[in-house]
Symmetry: C2
Subunit: 214 residues, 2 copies
């Protein structure tokens, strides 16, 4: 797994040659990661983030000229982490693409079990920012990346209709992410996994009836 190279590791470091430069930035980002996810980024104020990361206000505004920049950086980090977990879960299921399509749902199970789980950070982010904003656009981009990856897996698995299968699986994934917090019972994730297994299996069979669709 490779961390996304496109995620803003400030060229200032290379410019100054200072190895410790940007240490404060990481602390801020780590705190934001925690607070934004736990409370939403409208409820988590700059002052709180600054206080909890033990950083001066001027330092904060040096790295993140506006709160929006921090939110975007947060989403970038969430994307990297969640994508990494999805890929890891898929690979843990073996080399067969079909098995990986099911295995990736183990990342959902793990996420739902985690303490303080509050659903999909991107869905939550989109709920807090209207369409057309950069935050919203970043969310759309993330979802499309995941969809494209699953579609690729479905194609390599030999699915009858990779597009359709990928869409069904992302629906299950998003549904599990969204309702994992809401459904009182914790088995939404395992239900998503078994449903995914059923869909994958059905999509790999040869078409039974070429007849019309009611």
């Amino acid at each position: 797994m490779t961390p996304p190279a496109a995620t803003a590791p400030q060229a200032a470091r290379a410019a100054t040659g200072n190895a410790t430069a940007g240490n404060a930035r990481e602390k801020i980002l780590a705190t934001a990661f925690r607070l934004f996810y736990a409370q939403g980024f409208r409820a988590a104020g700059i002052d709180t983030i600054i206080a909890e990361s033990g950083v001066a206000k001027a330092t904060f505004y040096k790295y993140f000229p506006a709160k929006d920049e921090l939110i975007l950086a947060y989403l970038e980090k969430v994307d990297a982490v969640w994508t990494g977990q999805l890929h890891a879960a898929a690979e843990a299921a073996g080399d067969e693409p079909a098995a990986q399509l099911v295995g990736l749902f183990d990342a959902l199970t793990t996420a739902c079990r985690r303490d303080g789980y509050r659903g999909c950070a991107f869905i939550n982010a989109a709920a807090e920012s209207p369409a057309g904003t950069r935050v919203h656009d970043r969310t759309v981009a993330h979802k499309q990346q995941v969809l494209a990856w699953i579609r690729d897996l479905a194609g390599r698995a030999g699915a009858r209709d990779p597009d359709q299968l990928a869409r069904s699986l992302t629906l299950l994934l998003d549904g599990g992410l969204a309702s994992g917090v809401l459904d009182g019972s914790p088995d939404a994730a395992s239900a998503a996994r078994s449903t995914a297994a059923q869909l994958v299996a059905a999509s790999l069979k040869t078409p039974p009836a070429p007849g019309g669709n009611p």
Copy 2:
């Protein structure tokens, strides 16, 4: 200093024939319904709601002693509206429970197509309020009501495992609600419907393998 589109209070009262104290309450709730859904209830301020509903501040606080009360009333209204749409879509599909299980997804399609669609109001609400709050609890209750209704339909349809089928379908429904805004393409809803049809059909067939399944 002229309020935009000033709604003459006397005229409005005369139009409705007065007689109903609490006319202002409905106006407030209607405005909140619109603004809360469009912006989230953290971004939509009391002052804006008061101004846009053409109501005095004291009147607002008479009916809703705190913003939380308005949010709860809003969720109550959303619950009634969305549940009504789900039931209507199901009934429009005929009398057969199996057909209704698929037909209810037409409510999702309609919702996604609606202008200004911003996903599930409850999921968005939960994203803005931490677990343990009344808002969050109301969201959980709503989701469980929907789940119970679908489970009942699945049972009457003669599904092999009504619990499992209901859970799969709610996952698809929530996934469609959540990603209907995010997926660039608008066909998430129709994909959810066709996947639901597939799952319902598979669940009605006689069990192929009676082998013990953990």
